[in-house]
Amino acid sequence: MANYFNTLPLREQLNQLGQAEFMDSSEFADGVNALKGKKIVIVGAGAQGLNQGLNLRDSGLDVSYALRKEAIEQKRDSWKNATDNNFVVGTYEELIPTADLVINLTPDKQHTSVVNAVMPLMKEGSTLSYSHGFNIVEEGMEIRKDITVIMVAPKCPGSEVRAEYLRGFGVPTLIAVHPENDPQGKGWAEAKAYCVGTGGHHAGVLKSSFVAEVKSDLMGEQTILCGLLQTGSILSFDKMVEKGIDPGYASKLVQYGVEVITEALKHGGVSGMMDRLSNPAKVKAFELSEELKDIMRPLFQKHQDDIMSGEFSKTMMEDWANGDANLLKWRAETGETAFEKTPAGDVKIGEQEYFDNYVLMVAFVRAGVELAFETMVEAGIKPESAYYESLHETPLIANTIARKKLFEMNRVISDTAEYGCYLFDQACKPLLKDFMKNIDTDVVGKNFNDGKDGAVDNVKLVQINEILRNHEVEVVGRKLRKAMTAMKAIKTV
C-alpha cells in the first residue's frame, strides 16, 4: 500500500490539505434522520468505541458491537464493556453483513488488519467510518468502490465524549468524506447524522478532509499537545527539586498547574492565559516564550516536514513491525521519571497561585501553541484546522495529566500520538538544556511577584499585548470560540 497523500498531484494535495470549514448549526437540522432505522455496527469497544456507541444508542439509533472471536470467547474488557451495557455483541461474521454503517474504532495500529477482515463481509453500498485518517492517508488503504468512506472525529478522549453528551452538550468534532469513496453522494448526510448522534453538533463541527485531519492531527499531538506538555512538565519538576522546592509541592504544581493554566486558554486564548499574570510576570513569560520559540522552531519544522513527506509514519510503522521496541522503551522511561514517581503533596494551591508560581509553564504553552499553529499554517493547513489541533486541544490533554500525570496522558491518547510524543520529547530535552540552566525558582515554584514592586514599562507592555492579541491563532480563535454555544468551567482541586 502506497502513501495516499504522496500519490496525489500537488494540485490535489493542496486542495485536500486546505479543506476546513466551520459548519453552521443549521446544517444539522435533519438530526440523526440519515441513520435512523439503519443498522450501526461498531468494531472495537474501548474508550472511544464504547462511549460513542452509548451516545449513538441514547440518540435513538440501533447500535451493536462486532468483536473478534477471541475477545468474545475470552470475555476480554471490550466484550465486558459492551455486554455490561446491554448491547448486542457478535463476531465480525455475524454482524458485519447486516450493517448499513460500520464504525471502525479500533486503535490505528490495527486498522489494516481490521479493515481487511471487515471489508469482504460488508454489504454492497454500505458505509465505513473512521475517526482518524491515518489508515487511508498514510498507509494508503484502498476501500471497495461501492462503499462510502466517512470520518467522524470527536476532538476529545472517549470519556469526555460521554460525559459532555450526558450533560447535554458535546465535544468539537471534525467530519470528512473520502473523495475516492462517495459513490452515492450520501457521505456528508451520514457523517452529519453520526455527529449529531454523539452530541458534537452542540460544540462546533469542522468540515475537513482525511488528508487535512491526518497531517494536522499528527503535528498537533506530537508537538504542543503531548510532546511539549511532557517535556515542560518533566523539566519544570526536575528544576524545582534541584532548587530545593518540596517535591510534593512541585509534583502538585506540575500535575494540576497545566490544567489550570490551559483552562484560561480555553476561555480567552493565549492572551487570556497571559492576562492571568501580573504585568511584570507577563513581561517575563513573554520574554521566555520568545526565547523558547526561537530555540524550538527548527524542531517543530522538522516534525511538520516529516509528517508531510510520510517519513514520520514510515518510521513509526517500522517500529510497529519491530514489536514496538522504541515505543515500549520510551513508555517505560516515562514511567520512571521522578515527576511520575512523586505523589502530589497534600498542600492547598489556590487557582491564582498556579499562574503566579508557574510562569514557566505559561511560557511553554504560549510558545508551543503559537509555534505549532504557525508551522501548520505555513505548511498549507487552514488556520481553523490548525487552531483545533493546537490551542483547542491543549486543555483537554492537560486534563488527562491532572488526572494521573503523564502515564495517564499517554494511556488515553492514540498510539500514534504516544509515539510522536516520545519522539518529540527525546529531541526537545537536549535542545532546552542551556535554556533551563538559566531558569530559577522565581518562574517555577515560587511566586514571581514576591519582592517586586509591580512596575513595568508602558511602551513595552503595550507592544507585548499587541503582539499577543494580533497573532493569527487569536484572531481565528475568537471567531471559533464564539461559535461554540457552551463553554463550561472545570473544577480546580
Binding site: 451495557n85 460525559a163 450526558l166 447535554g168 488526572r403 473544577k491
Partner: protein, 487 residues
C-alpha cells in the same frame, strides 16, 4: 469553674457585604452537647467551620481540651455535603456516571477508602467493624465509591468522621439521606461517644435527637442565642401562597395512557444484583411514593425511567407509550420529565447562577445554553417570582442556603411544564419547615394532570397528593399499595 472547652470572643465573619457572624461570643463547657438550630442562612455552617479551623480567624476562638483524656485533643467537622474524589484527587464526575459501566476503575472501593483513611490517621480497623455492621454496610465494602447511593455516601462519611473520636465533634445535618434504622444507629453511636468522653454539636432542625443533647442554641443577627428547649428555636417563615404562573396551568397533553411500564426487570453491576424482577406500571396522572432503605435500588429504578441507565435497553420497558430502544432518544424522554435527585444536585455546574439553573431546564442540560428565547425568559422571571427566588436571581446556586437551592432545582424541573415529575429525595437536608414549604409547592404543581414519582424516607414529610406507594427491599418489590388517607 474550669475554663470552657471552646471559648469564642467577638467573632466576625462576612462574605463581601453580607455580615454573617457579628461579634459572636459563645462558651461551650465540659459536658455540654448542643443542638445548633434556627433559620436557614443564619450562619450555622459558618460558625461550625470557624470552630473547626476551616475559616481564617484571628485567635477569637480558644480551646481548652482535657489534657487527661485519652481522646485526641481536637475538633472534627463533618460537613453536610460529601465530596469524594477519584484515585488522583479529581472531582470531575458527571451524575449518571455510576450507571455507565466501564472496566476501568476510577474510584477506590469503600474498603480501600477506609483502609487508606485508617493508615493516614493511624486508626485500628477493628474498632469500626461493628459500626459498619450496624449501618448494614458490610455488603458494600467492595463497591466502588462512584456506585454508592447518596444515603450510603452519608453513612461512609459518618463512619470516617466519627472513627477517630476526637474530644469535640460537630456534625452539619447528620441525618441527610439516612433511612429510619440508620438514624437510630447514629443516635445510639453518638450517645456512646458522649459517654466515653466526647462532646457533640449537631446542626439540624430535626426532632429525633440523641439523648445526650442537653443544650439548645441558635444564631440570630450574627449572635448566639441560647434557649431552654428545642421548641424555642426559630423556624423559617411560612410560605405565602402565590398564583401559579399561567404557563403552568395548562395540563400537558398526552397521547399515551401509561407513563412507565416495567416488566420483570433485572439489573446487576458485576456481582451486585441491584434490581430483581421488578414489575411496575405508572399510569398518567398517578401520584406515587417510592420507598425503600438506603441502597434498596430506588435511584437505579428511577434512572431506568428517566433515560439515564444504559442497561435500560433490552428489557421489557415502555416509557410514555414507546418501547425503550425503539428509536427514541434520551432527550425525547427527558423532555417529558422534570427530575431532581441528590446526585444531580451534587454534580450540578458550580458556576451556574439561579437564573442559569432554571434556564437549563429548557434543555435538560446540566449548566446552561446561551440562547434563551424571549418567551422563555419571561417564564423564568414568573417562576422565580412564584418560588420567591427573584432576590437571588444572579447569585451562584451553590452559595445559597440548601432550601433555596432545592427550590431553584425544582423550578428548573418544572420550567418546561413536563407531564412527569420525578422528585428523588428532594427534601434531603432540608428542615421540617423548609420541607413543608417545598411539598406545598409540589402539591400545587401536581394537581394539573401531572404524574408524580416522589422518593422520601419519612412518612410525616410528604406532599399530601400522594395516592400510591411502591416499596423496594434489596432490589425487589416488597409492596405496591394504595394510600387511602392522605399521608
Amino acid at each position: 469553674m474550669t475554663e470552657p472547652v471552646v471559648h469564642i470572643r467577638n467573632l466576625n465573619v462576612q462574605y463581601s457585604k453580607n455580615v454573617v457572624l457579628n461579634d459572636l461570643c459563645w462558651s461551650i463547657h465540659h459536658g455540654q452537647n448542643y443542638l445548633l438550630g434556627g433559620k436557614s442562612g443564619s450562619g450555622k455552617t459558618t460558625l461550625a467551620k470557624a470552630i473547626a479551623g476551616l475559616l481564617p480567624t484571628n485567635h477569637e476562638i480558644k480551646f481548652h481540651f482535657d489534657p487527661s483524656s485519652n481522646l485526641p485533643a481536637k475538633v472534627i467537622y463533618i460537613s453536610n455535603w460529601f465530596q469524594f474524589t477519584n484515585l488522583e484527587g479529581d472531582r470531575n464526575f458527571y451524575y449518571q456516571q455510576r450507571y455507565n459501566h466501564h472496566q476501568g476503575h476510577d474510584t477506590l472501593t469503600v474498603k480501600a477508602e477506609l483502609q487508606h483513611f485508617a493508615e493516614k490517621e493511624n486508626l485500628d480497623f477493628n474498632i469500626i467493624e461493628e459500626r459498619i455492621r450496624d449501618f448494614g454496610f458490610e455488603d458494600l465494602l467492595n463497591s466502588q465509591l462512584i456506585a454508592l447511593s447518596s444515603g450510603e455516601h452519608k453513612k461512609l462519611q459518618l463512619i470516617r468522621g466519627l472513627w477517630p473520636q476526637p474530644q469535640l465533634i460537630i456534625i452539619d445535618e447528620p441525618y441527610t439521606g439516612l433511612d429510619k434504622h440508620s438514624r437510630t444507629v447514629l443516635n445510639n453511636w453518638l450517645d456512646e461517644l458522649v459517654v466515653s468522653g466526647s462532646q457533640i454539636i449537631l446542626i439540624t432542625n430535626d426532632t429525633q435527637l440523641p439523648q445526650s443533647i442537653n443544650g439548645f442554641t441558635q444564631i440570630i443577627d450574627g449572635k448566639i442565642n441560647e434557649v431552654k428547649s428545642r421548641s424555642e428555636i426559630q423556624v423559617d417563615n411560612n410560605r405565602q401562597k402565590r398564583q401559579l404562573p399561567d404557563f403552568l396551568k395548562n395540563a400537558p397533553s398526552t397521547s399515551y395512557d401509561t407513563v412507565a411500564e416495567l416488566k420483570n426487570i433485572f439489573i446487576r453491576y458485576g456481582e451486585k444484583q441491584v434490581l430483581k424482577d421488578v414489575t411496575w406500571t405508572v399510569n398518567v396522572g398517578e401520584k406515587w411514593l417510592l420507598q425503600g432503605a438506603n441502597g434498596s435500588g430506588k435511584s437505579t429504578l428511577l434512572s431506568l425511567i428517566n433515560g439515564d441507565h444504559p442497561q435500560a435497553y433490552g428489557h421489557d420497558l415502555s416509557l410514555f407509550g414507546n418501547k425503550r430502544g425503539s428509536g427514541e432518544s434520551i432527550w425525547d424522554i427527558k423532555q417529558k420529565i422534570g427530575i431532581i435527585s441528590p446526585e444531580m444536585h451534587w454534580y450540578f455546574d458550580q458556576k451556574a447562577t439561579v437564573w442559569h439553573t432554571i434556564a437549563s431546564g429548557f434543555y435538560d442540560s446540566i449548566g446552561w445554553f446561551i440562547d434563551v428565547k424571549f418567551t422563555e425568559k419571561q417564564q423564568i422571571e414568573e417562576l422565580m417570582e412564584f418560588f420567591d427566588l427573584t432576590a437571588y436571581r444572579d447569585q451562584l446556586l451553590h452559595t445559597l442556603p440548601l432550601g433555596k437551592q432545592r427550590l431553584a432545582m425544582l423550578a428548573r424541573t418544572i420550567i418546561k411544564n413536563p407531564p412527569l415529575l420525578v422528585l428523588d429525595e428532594p427534601c434531603q437536608g432540608l428542615d421540617i419547615e423548609q420541607t413543608k414549604y417545598f411539598n406545598d409547592v409540589v402539591d400545587e404543581l401536581a394537581v394539573l394532570g401531572k404524574t408524580l414519582i416522589y422518593v422520601g424516607h419519612y412518612e410525616s414529610q410528604l406532599p399530601s397528593c400522594i395516592e400510591h406507594r411502591i416499596v423496594l427491599e434489596k432490589g425487589e418489590v416488597k409492596a405496591i399499595e394504595n394510600i387511602l388517607e392522605s399521608v
